[in-house]
Amino acid sequence: MVLEVRDLRKYYKNIKAVDGISFCVDKNEVFALLGPNGAGKTTTIKCILGLRNKDGGEIKLSGTVGYLPEGKELYQSYTVRKMIEITASITKDFDKDKCFKFIEQFDMPLSEKVSELSNGQTTQLYISLVLSQRAELYILDEPTWGLDPIVRNQILEMIRNIPFDGSSVLYTSHILSEVEKVADKVAIMNKGKIIEIGYLDDIKEKYCAIRVDKSKNVSGYKYKSTESENVYVVKKEWAQENGFTCEPITFDILFEAIVLGSNSNSNVRGEER
């Protein structure tokens, strides 16, 4: 195991930014932390990295970490070449040649100042710096933000290849189609808590949609309403036991239903779902 988080808590006065979450990232695994804005993903990552002080819980991290933050802020006055050289001087196990290769692959001029790079190029440079560091765990916060589809696919390919080199990935993203492409395991967070966690395929397999007459009430994640019926996302096992017809759902629908459902207390039930 590369990372173990147990009962992590982080409060800002009365706001529970992270409220007793637990998860672990295994070796050679891509673990995605998902959730809407303000769910507590970035705070969780910052607590893991020691950038924020936790209020409780335990974090066990083995080995070195490479980190790509949500805001891809680099030194504006440096050139791309200087940025690589400075990073090499302060980073343990940094492969400068590998970094120059990434930059060449992204077709980025070495003499260009960081301040003159576009958002997408800054992300490309940052991810090149992070992935050129030999680390046991790469923590990537919204790694594809601001990238065009071609570069995004290049980056996703790079992320997908990380486990083959013996490392693991903990990453966050708002783009669920991306998550489906690269993640082995996911945790869905909302309001500081983990609502669902497990292997992506298992989670997708666990839930289905059922249509229920509006006069009936079912405990589940209410996804949408039509004129005559409500559509709920429920556990497949429960639906079959109770004689409902299961309809397959996409991961997008599942994510939306779980998050919306957890926002509404009436819909949040344990085993009944």
């Binding site: 910052k46 980190y67 933050p69 802020e73 680099l74 030194y75 504006q76 400075i86």
Partner: protein, 249 residues
């Protein structure tokens, strides 16, 4: 440290050039300054601030350069040099969002020591160079100068600069933008200087020390004040270090 030296290069070059310009518009013009002041002799207003005896002493090279360099031009900017060297050390990284880049690569203790020591080394180099300018100039031009007095001024300059460096370093750790530590440093300097006008609070006026009043009066280093300055600087730096270890990014 490579990064820190690189980041501070513009500030260091700027300050060094300013100090050199300041010195070279002063040192070669002793005769011109004295003759200009003599032209005003008999003026009651000038007599009030510059009595005849003082004017005569300005004709001595040692007195001229000590009073005009250490006691005036350079002396007055020593705290400001300390403030300018320290204010962006941490606050610029926090403001630009680059502190996380450093902290995930090196531990906090190292990041703090790197920044603190690089700034300190460069500050000491600037202050030593500026303090030695009269000595070097006097030697090269074979002027009659009391070198030991110059070294006493060097000590005062160094520790006065380090005190304001450490005070502003603390502000740089506390605040998340670059303007606040600069203003807080300058504000503290103004407040302590004004408060020092009051007799019971005169210890707060660090200018009396930076300008070397004790050296002018008794030709001795103010050891008691120097010791106090070292202790205060150490305490403030330690507080800044402790705050930085716990600071949330």
């Amino acid at each position: 440290m490579k990064k820190e030296f690189y980041d501070m290069r513009v500030r260091v070059i700027g300050i060094t050039i300013t100090v050199l310009i300041l010195f070279f518009v002063l040192a070669p013009f002793q005769k011109f300054t004295v003759s200009m002041l003599e032209g005003y002799s008999g003026n009651p207003q000038l007599e009030k601030f510059l009595p005849g005896s003082m004017l005569n002493r300005l004709k001595e090279w040692s007195f001229y350069i000590n009073s005009q360099w250490y006691g005036k031009n350079f002396g007055q900017i020593i705290p400001i040099i300390g403030i300018i060297m320290a204010f962006p050390l941490f606050s610029r990284e926090t403001e630009n969002g680059t502190l996380a880049f450093l902290l995930v690569r090196r531990n906090r203790k190292l990041v703090f020591m790197d920044k603190f020591l690089t700034g300190l080394i460069l500050l000491v180099l600037i202050l030593v160079l500026a303090s030695l300018l009269p000595i070097i100039y006097s030697f090269l031009l074979s002027k009659n100068y009391q070198y030991t007095t110059g070294l006493k001024f060097l000590l005062h300059s160094l520790f006065a600069g380090i005190l304001w460096y450490s005070i502003t370093l603390l502000y740089s750790v506390i605040f998340n933008d670059q303007v606040k530590p600069l203003l807080a440093g300058l504000g503290t300097l103004a407040i302590t200087t004004v408060a020092g006008i009051l007799k019971p609070l005169r210890i707060l006026n660090t200018y009396a020390y930076a300008l070397g009043s004790k050296i002018f009066q008794k030709n001795i280093v103010d050891l008691k004040y120097t010791f106090g300055v070292i202790i205060v600087s150490l305490i403030i730096t330690f507080i800044a270090y402790k705050i930085f270890l716990k600071k949330e990014i």
